[in-house]
Amino acid sequence: MDQFIKIENFPLIAPYAELFWQGTLVTILLALFTVIIGFCLALILALMRMSNLRPFRALGIDADGHAREKGFLALVSRFNPLEFIATAYVEILRSTPVVVQIFIIYYGIFSIIQLPSFQILGFIRFDRFFPGVVALGMNSGAYLCEIIRSGIQSIDSGQTEAARSLGLSQGQNLRYIILPQAIKNILPSIANEFVVIIKESAITYTIGVQDIMSAVNAVRGATFIIIEPLLVATAIYFCLCFPTSKVIAYIERKMSRGDKR
């Protein structure tokens, strides 16, 4: 039986080391931009989900001037279109596979929108990289939205009550009391999402983003060697993710100290 791993294959793939370096850089850039886009999107989505826009609010007040308690009109009066859109977005993105979303965005949206085909740093093809970032960003935005929302909701409701009873408006409460405390709780989760995206970004090789997985594919195509480039990719992914998540865990532990009320 043939050996599973052949040591002599490694020198054969050594000439392609450059591809792996480039792939690593692309993967890191991809994850970085994805987190930035995802976070901005998530903040907007989270605020939409928690917003208080109720266009039919007036229907919920009875002739006496009191708020209606139940019934169809009370239901309609509580309808918030922003919240509905954001919730629908989050649920759809979370309930469908990433690869489907990437294909829809790449073959659908970016076949209508023509992207200029130039190369960043001389080897990153913008017309592949950009759709990849957009697709991953939209996906992680949905997940980060829930992280931000739960971070905000984890703040004791007594904080809001105290702030409001002092006369602070809803916006002031969010800005001065809730967000400063919530962000601190959320940061480790956002860093964790970064690690998740490093791994998830491997899927973007399917639309031709030249990340680590696409280097594996290129080597396979040129040399018909499969396992050894995959092992190289495994090692790179591990070296990126393992230390990062350990550092995050360490910072998280340090931050949670002296945090008890």
């Binding site: 904080q159 105290a162 009873s165």
Partner: protein
């Protein structure tokens, strides 16, 4: 000052009646103690006064305006939207669990609302805050964070934080219930002093001694209803309602 009429708070369409028709007048300078078994609606009543709970029926007239409605008419006939933030500035509130802002120092806790809501300058707000802290003996802790304070100290800060907004009435929601026994006294002392200065106060409490000595009116609530009210000494000596007799026999 505050006229509460037939105040109701129903949940689930009336299946749960947290408040079931409370009618009471709170006059300027009143120190009103609210007692009753747990689940009797005392806290709901208090929290309704500054609309942390939205009542489902009845009215609360505060300075001539029915604050349970979203809109009201001014004397010259204009319809104005109720500004809930403006209203709450005039009602200070102290909570069972203090609810200080943990990410801000004591001084910042106290100056935030005066600066952001009233637009007072930082210097002026800090000067006022330090004066107030001095009154409760905590001036030297101005730069500490809430986590570094004991429960009694936190509650004293919470009281002066509310006072920094110069409210017309102070609402206390079981201010000593979360404190260790030896710290109850220091908080009650501050409240006594406040009462002696003529502050209008509504105090939900389990401290019968405080209710009796400091309060000039006593409300007894059970099952969302106001069962008895009157002079504290009189009620403690001669409770009329069987529920009050029963309650007092258990707590005294």
């Amino acid at each position: 000052m505050i006229q509460v009429t037939d105040l109701k708070k129903y949940y689930k369409g009336g299946a749960i009646k947290a408040l079931d028709g409370i009618t009471v007048d709170i006059n300027k300078g009143d120190v009103m103690a609210v007692i009753g078994p747990s689940g009797s609606g005392k806290s709901t009543f208090l929290r309704s006064l500054n609309l942390l709970e939205e009542p489902t029926g009845g009215s609360i007239i505060f300075n001539g305006i029915d604050i349970t409605k979203k809109k009201y008419k001014t004397p010259d006939g204009k319809t104005v939207k109720l500004n809930i933030d403006k209203l709450r500035q005039k009602m200070g509130m102290v909570f069972q669990h203090f609810n200080l802002f943990p990410h801000k120092t004591i001084l910042d806790n106290m100056t935030l609302a005066p600066m952001k809501v009233k637009g007072i300058s930082k210097e002026e707000a800090e000067k006022k805050a330090l004066e107030l802290l001095d009154r409760v003996g905590l001036k030297d802790r101005a730069d500490a964070y809430p986590i570094q304070l004991s429960g009694g100290q936190k509650q004293r800060v919470a009281i002066v934080r509310a006072l920094a907004m110069e409210p017309e009435v102070m609402l206390f929601d079981e201010p000593t219930s979360a404190l260790d026994p030896e710290m109850v006294g220091e908080v009650l002392d501050v409240m006594k002093e406040l009462a002696n200065e003529g502050m209008t106060m509504v105090v939900v409490t389990h401290e019968m001694g405080f209710a009796r000595e400091v309060g000039n009116r006593l409300l007894f609530m059970a099952d969302g209803k106001l069962l008895e009210q009157g002079d504290p000494a009189e009620l403690f000596e001669h409770p009329q309602h069987p529920r009050l007799q029963d309650f007092l026999s258990k707590v005294l």
